[in-house]
């Protein structure tokens, strides 16, 4: 029998103990970042040296800005990964992210429409995976969590799949009683 007693104190999400991403998650982020930006920097430097018009308008010391940006970004990535955390509760999944804009998203498992696990070549090498959880009506995934171990992703997916079954079993048991 379903009961709906008035609740004096609601479970508070701000007390959730978030679990950090996998140790290798930072490598995944840094490698991805470098794969995109190193070739871009190489192109900028090549254009600067081979095109005389651009060479005359950009002084050589301005090129030092590029490695500084790279270093700052690598540092930002470290703190950004540390700021991320996931928590799986009995009825929902919580994910926090962001350094400047801090977001905390809570997605009830009962509202998850489908689950996807992605593994790119770098993720496969590092034993990582990306988990995407979709509810209804959103433009894209409600939760997009990269940097989890492959096993943890599969465990979460299994937990989500079992959720409906467990609920049904509970309700069947209560009907039997």
């Amino acid at each position: 029998m379903f009961s709906n007693q008035q609740i004096e104190t609601l479970p508070q999400h701000q007390r959730i103990q978030f679990q950090s991403l996998a140790d290798k998650a930072i490598w995944h982020v840094q490698i991805n970042w470098l794969i995109f930006y190193l070739p871009l920097m190489a192109v900028i430097i090549a254009v600067r040296y081979f095109n005389t018009n651009i060479a005359s308008s950009i002084a050589p010391h301005w090129l030092l800005v590029l490695p500084v940006i790279v270093l700052l970004s690598l540092l930002y990535n470290v703190y950004s990964v540390r700021a991320k955390g996931i928590a799986v509760r009995e009825h929902d999944i919580a994910f926090k992210r962001g350094l400047i804009w801090q977001h905390v998203t809570l997605l009830p498992i009962a509202r998850i429409q489908h689950t996807e696990i992605h593994r790119g070549p770098i993720e496969r090498k590092l034993g990582l995976a990306t988990l995407r959880l979709y509810s209804a009506g959103g433009m894209s995934a409600d939760l997009h969590i990269s940097g989890l171990t492959d096993k943890y992703c599969n465990d979460i997916r299994q937990f989500i799949q079992n959720y409906g079954c467990d609920e049904r079993v509970k309700s069947d048991e209560s009907i039997d009683e």
């Binding site: 479970p11 999400h13 009825h91 804009w101 809570l106 009830p108 509810s135 209804a136 409600d142």
Partner: protein, 510 residues
């Protein structure tokens, strides 16, 4: 009704297939043929001759394809409570749609079927266009029988799955109606942004239109103004102004026509916990929406609607992705009540929410004043500074002072927007409803039952955290709602409450 024999549709359905494929060709195919068109325009000699040949081939191709499609099109309502469809010309398709998966059965009556008493029977499978099954050119009574059969099966399913016994309520089952006159519908043309849509549709031809206007219209107007010595200033400027005014008038007229085409003779019924809407000029579209499937109610009033004292009410169902509310509104399954008076809004909303009162009377929680300060800096002070610097670099001091007039206008807009932002909760018979209010010159209300939310997010910046503030974002199955700059404890409490409602409520949310 169950039939193990494959059935053919009426031969008049061929007209539907021709129209359907012609529209599909213009919508999708023409864009793909754009490179060929470019080559044709730039490279081919004797364009008129080859254009005639190409058009004839396309028309013959369309007729042959539609005929082949018609020949192959067969359907069957099987005894296993499913609709089977055989269709396709080059790629044969066998489609099975179980009654349990059908969300709605809509009956559309295109103008070319009206004298024949034929209709299109449309089965919607998941609120998405891709999942739509259409059986064209069937008799109206046959379509209604099929609809009854599907809905009876679904009602039986729901009754079996429901823990609680549904007690039929005589008062609810008696039909309630709402009709909107066509004069009112025309007002929707003025209120809505259909004029912009009409102009957007003309966008690919905008260069050609401007060239035509310049040669056929503006040059002549300029000549007329030049002859009239009374006009002070440039005749060319006057001609362009008149042309722009005329274009706006044409756009508004188009907008009114589009509104009439879509909502002509609008009638809405509430029967057996379902909204049934019939509207349309060329095609009488019947839309049937269960009250429980409505995810939220969107009550809108823009500036023009405010002047006319009218509202638009939108009841979206689950949207299949896309940009939130906008995508939900374009969804065919979204129930739109285009022009309602305040009393009609109360009437319709009280069918949906028995507690419904004038929303202005609700006790709205306003955002903190920090939002007003932030928006004043970002959207009033900063743009004014940029405008003043820009004007200063180009004009003299007097013009720069005119630029400063921008500041009070922008500050007023920011203040109005701040005043119209709010959130309220309403408790009625153990059910909780949330109302989100936004607006500037107009106003918008989103009303939804809390347990229908999909997820909740809080956001805070460094400065917000220092002031103990958070913004709230609730994802619905039909878009999303946001409430900026709430006190931290209010935002947290709201999120906890939403989660509790979602997780503890056993009722189906769609």
């Amino acid at each position: 009704m169950n039939n193990n024999e494959w059935q053919r549709v009426s031969r008049w359905a061929l007209v539907y297939f021709i129209v359907h494929f012609a529209i599909r060709f213009f919508k999708g195919g023409l864009l793909n043929l754009l490179p060929v068109l470019v080559v044709f325009v730039t490279q081919v000699e004797q364009k008129w001759f080859w254009a005639q040949i190409a058009t004839s081939v396309a028309v013959v191709g369309l007729f042959v394809y539609a005929f082949a499609y018609f020949i192959n099109f067969k359907y069957r309502i099987s005894s296993e409570q499913e609709i089977l469809l055989n269709k396709g010309v080059f790629k044969k398709e066998r489609l099975t749609l179980k009654f349990a998966r059908v969300q709605n059965v809509n009956i559309a009556e295109p103008f070319y079927f009206q004298p024949l008493n034929l209709v299109n029977c449309i089965f919607d499978a998941a609120g998405s266009n891709a999942q739509e099954v259409v059986i064209p050119g069937v008799k109206l009574n046959h379509a209604e029988q099929v609809r009854e059969q599907v809905m009876a099966f679904k009602a039986q399913l729901q009754q079996e799955s429901s823990d609680e016994q549904v007690i039929p309520d005589e008062a609810v089952s008696s039909s309630q109606t709402l009709s909107i006159s066509n004069a009112e519908i025309a007002k929707f043309g003025l209120i809505s942004n259909m004029a912009i849509l009409a102009l957007a549709a003309l966008a690919p031809f905008i260069n050609a239109i401007f060239e035509f206007l310049e040669t056929a219209f503006i040059d002549r107007l300029e000549a007329v103004f030049n002859e009239q010595a009374v006009f002070i200033g440039s005749a060319a400027t006057m001609a362009i102004m008149v042309a722009v005014l005329l274009m706006i008038l044409v756009a508004v007229l188009l907008s009114v026509v589009m509104a009439l085409v879509r909502f002509f003779n609008f009638q809405l019924y509430l029967q057996d916990e379902k909204f049934k809407r019939i509207a349309g000029l060329f095609e009488r579209q019947q839309l049937s929406v269960s009250l429980e499937k409505i995810q939220s109610v969107h009550i809108k009033q823009n500036v023009i609607a405010r002047l006319l004292k009218r509202y638009t009410v939108v009841c979206p169902q689950v949207s299949s992705g896309g940009a939130g509310v906008a995508s939900a509104h374009k969804n065919k399954q979204t129930l739109v009540m285009p022009v309602l008076t305040a009393s009609q809004v109360r009437q319709v909303c009280s069918w949906l929410f028995p507690w419904f009162i004038d929303l202005k009377e609700l006790n709205f929680i306003k955002p903190e004043r920090a939002l007003l300060y932030k928006n004043t800096v970002l959207y009033a002070l900063l743009p004014t500074c940029v405008a003043v610097v820009f004007l200063h670099s180009m004009f003299d001091l007097l013009v720069v002072l005119w630029g400063l007039l921008l500041l009070p206008a922008l500050v007023s807009m920011v203040y109005l927007s701040y005043q119209k932002t709010g959130i309220a909760l309403y408790h009625h018979e153990n059910r909780y409803f949330a109302v989100f209010k936004t607006g500037m010159l107009g106003s918008q209300y989103r009303v939804f039952e809390v347990y229908k939310a999909q997820s909740a997010t809080t956001t805070s910046t460094y400065l917000m955290r220092r002031s103990e503030l958070k913004s709230l974002y609730i994802q619905l199955a039909s878009g999303s709602v946001t409430m900026p700059y709430l006190k931290c404890n209010q935002a947290n409490q709201f999120v906890d409450f939403v989660l509790h409602e979602i997780e503890a409520t056993q009722r189906s949310w769609f």
